[in-house]
């Protein structure tokens, strides 16, 4: 299949389409995923092509969506659930944490939960409250779940396809401000393993690590740093649970410095875990403490203030300066 020019949202749509075609046990369910095609149109046209039996508009009840999807998985289906917005996943949090994450262990491996929960997340689109949050750490903290986030259309296609084929529950965070980013997507390429991090720009002076919406920001920071004579390496972590610490370690052993960038608040965020593990693994090669750039320990602010809350180019470069100053 030749490469196609796709938005990230369209690439996700193609991945769902491929999965629905390849495996009759794949189901798509969520609020407004049918006739409307989802509020971000990620499921556009799927119900028309695959029918209401496989692409189901759900009642407006997130716990109900995930809870019934667990039942459907028990009887042999592979549900792909859409939660409409990040801040609306919490009614389903109980089902995800107490049931979905634990059934495989509780059943000594006799029950598998091949479910994907897609969550549009992150800010930058000027939305109202509960529509811009980054709760990935709340899921990465739960054993039994896997958590990934693509940063670009190609990964969006392949990572969703891989997540659907996984026999573990995968929380799939979609960077909603990147939904309309466009790229050539090679639908016949061989994808990297789902949980493998990737060096997206090699460098020698410092490693910038991001995932989802912040990878593009890290790339922009690395580009801007060139003018100041700094060579920054950029890692796309792609997976938050597990984090590919081996790739991070190799990068830090080259650059001796690490700055982690995510939109989520840094307090108890993914960056905290990465900092702790990298410090343990790379203690003698680090030239500076691992620094983090992210949201603050405050509720996600009203849209007019989100630029102050979100990591931006200046804040990333400021952290780079601090790291290099050690």
């Amino acid at each position: 299949m030749p490469a196609e020019r796709l938005t990230l949202a369209r690439a996700l749509n193609e991945a769902l389409r491929t999965a629905l075609e390849e495996d009759s046990s794949v189901l798509v369910m969520g609020e407004d995923v049918g006739t409307l095609g989802g509020v971000f149109r990620v499921t556009d046209g799927l119900q028309k092509d695959f029918g209401q039996d496989r692409v189901m508009d759900s009642p407006l009840a997130e716990s109900g969506i995930v809870g019934t999807a667990i039942g459907l998985a028990l009887v042999g289906y592979r549900p792909v659930v859409e939660i409409q917005f990040d801040g609306f996943v919490f009614p389903a949090y109980d089902q995800i944490v107490t049931q979905l994450a634990k059934l495989h262990a509780r059943s000594h491996g006799t029950i598998r939960m091949p479910m994907v929960i897609r969550i549009p997340y992150g800010g930058g689109i000027g939305a109202v409250e509960h529509h811009s949050e980054s709760p990935e750490a709340l899921f990465a903290h739960v054993a039994g779940l896997k958590v990934v986030s693509p940063s670009n259309p190609t990964d969006a296609y392949w990572m969703l396809w891989q997540a659907i084929r996984s026999d573990d529950p995968v929380i799939f965070f979609e960077p909603k401000r990147r939904y309309w980013d466009t790229a050539e997507v090679d639908l016949s390429a061989r994808p990297d393993p789902l949980h493998q991090a990737r060096v997206v720009r090699p460098g020698t002076d410092l490693t910038l690590a991001g995932y989802g919406p912040t990878v593009q920001l890290c790339l922009e920071a690395a580009e801007a740093a060139v003018a100041e004579g700094k060579s920054l390496e950029v890692l796309d972590l792609r997976s938050v649970s597990p984090v590919d610490f081996d790739t991070v370690q190799r990068s830090v052993e080259r650059t001796h410095r690490l700055v982690v960038v995510h939109e989520a608040p840094v307090f108890f965020g993914a960056g905290a875990e990465i900092a702790a593990r990298v410090t343990t693994r790379c203690f003698y090669t680090l030239e500076a403490p691992v620094l983090r750039v992210g949201g603050y320990h405050a509720p996600y602010p009203a849209a007019r203030l989100e630029k102050e809350f979100l990591p931006d180019l200046d804040r990333v470069l400021d952290a780079v300066d601090h790291s290099l100053a050690y």
Binding site: P59, T68, G71, L74, V75, A105, S107, H108, G109, H195
Partner: protein, 388 residues
């Protein structure tokens, strides 16, 4: 009004024979509140003659009786084992045997059961080894059995969560064109949980073949059912658009008949069905609970007089003339089961410490692998070289 709600028609001399089918239909059409469905009175007498008692079959009654006694024997032993420190916890089922055994006998092997955590008698009827339930409460495992072998799901401790799993499972059965059904067991307290309401919603709009079987045992730990809702519990189903029926949960025969009717209803594609089995938890919520802090002795005595096992035994000995040797044999069998459980519980092996890391994921996880290695390394580091 008689026990099942029928009144003597005016102007007739003959006492009316209450009709179970009429009463069930009344429930299903929401025409009226026919009162609690009952086939066998607390005194062990049939409400209607045998030929007008649905499912009346002495062999069935003896099978129900046997399983009820076995379940109580096992339950009593497990309670004792907890008191002696062999189990961490035990939620006794005593008093709820008719609700559980009566409904379980109405199920087909390919129906799938989603229990709460007190459904020991249903488990027994499905063929789950009681020792596997013991393992859970002894702290050897968080599961205990392979649910695929008996179509009896693992216990769910988060109250009401599994009502949604049953609904999703039933939605899947319907998609596959199967005529099997799912059944979810939960208590009166669970009906306040949002998940149960959401399960009702999903089941109704998808016409899912699921029976919601609520054992209203009158108490959610210390809170009486009046703290959970106003009005009759079975009428919860009304607002969701499917039938709800109230049955005497200490009448195994009526529970069996109602559950069978409910299963037929859902199998035929009519959507879900709600059963409120009115019963009583004769013991504590769990062995950690002290019910004397919230229940009056008179209430407990009132319900003890309605013991479901005594009711069935009285009926079988008097009306059916079942020979005393049958009861003796069942008692002996229950004693043997209790003895086996006691013996096997005490020799259950301690789980290997590395089991902490088992089956966290189906396809592995780098952090689990790393931590397992560190854990092993830590234990290897001790000088005595203990490897167990």
């Amino acid at each position: 009004m008689t026990a099942n709600g029928n009144q003597r028609p005016p102007g007739t001399d003959e006492p009316a024979v209450p009709d179970f089918a009429d009463a069930l239909n009344a429930f299903m059409s929401h025409r009226e509140d026919p009162g609690m469905l009952q086939l066998l009175t607390p005194e062990g007498a049939l409400v209607a003659p045998p030929d007008r008692t649905p499912g009346y079959d002495p062999e069935l009654l003896r099978a129900l009786y046997r399983d009820m006694v076995m379940a109580r024997g096992f339950d009593t032993e497990a309670t004792a084992l907890q008191r002696q420190g062999e189990l961490g916890l035990w939620p006794p089922l005593a008093g709820q045997e008719a609700a559980q055994v009566g409904s379980a006998h109405a199920l087909r092997a390919d129906d799938y059961v989603f229990p709460s955590y007190r459904e020991h008698a249903v488990a027994w009827c499905r063929g789950v080894n009681p020792l596997d339930i013991i393992k859970l409460y002894r702290g050897v495992t968080n599961g205990g059995w392979d649910p695929r072998e008996t179509n009896f799901h693992l216990y769910t401790l988060v109250v009401g969560s599994h009502a949604l799993h049953a609904t999703g499972y039933a939605m899947g059965l319907a998609k596959k064109g199967s005529d099997a059904a799912a059944i979810a067991y939960f208590g009166d307290g669970a009906t306040s949980e949002g998940d149960v309401a959401e399960a009702f919603t999903f089941a109704a709009v998808h016409s899912a073949p699921v029976v919601f079987f609520c054992q209203n045992n009158q108490w959610a730990i210390s809170e009486p059912v009046e703290r959970q809702l106003r009005g009759p519990l079975y009428r919860r189903a009304d607002g969701f658009g499917f039938p709800g029926v109230q049955v005497d949960g200490n009448d195994a025969l009526a529970v069996h008949a109602v559950t069978r009717a409910a299963l037929e209803h859902v199998r035929a594609g009519n959507g879900p069905f709600f059963i409120e089995a009115s019963t009583y938890r004769m013991g504590a919520h769990t062995t950690s609970d002290d019910p004397t802090r919230y229940r009056r002795p008179a209430e407990v005595e009132h319900w003890r007089a309605r013991d479901p096992i005594v009711r069935l035994r009285t009926h079988l000995s008097h009306a059916d003339d079942t020979a005393p040797v049958f009861f003796e044999e069942v008692e002996e069998e229950a004693r043997k089961l209790a003895h086996r459980i006691r013996h096997d519980t005490r020799i259950l092996p301690h789980p290997h410490r590395l089991a902490v890391f088992d089956h966290v994921y189906a396809e592995g996880h780098a952090v689990v692998d790393e931590e397992r290695e560190q854990f092993e390394e830590y234990h290897r580091s001790f000088a005595d070289g203990e490897t167990e």
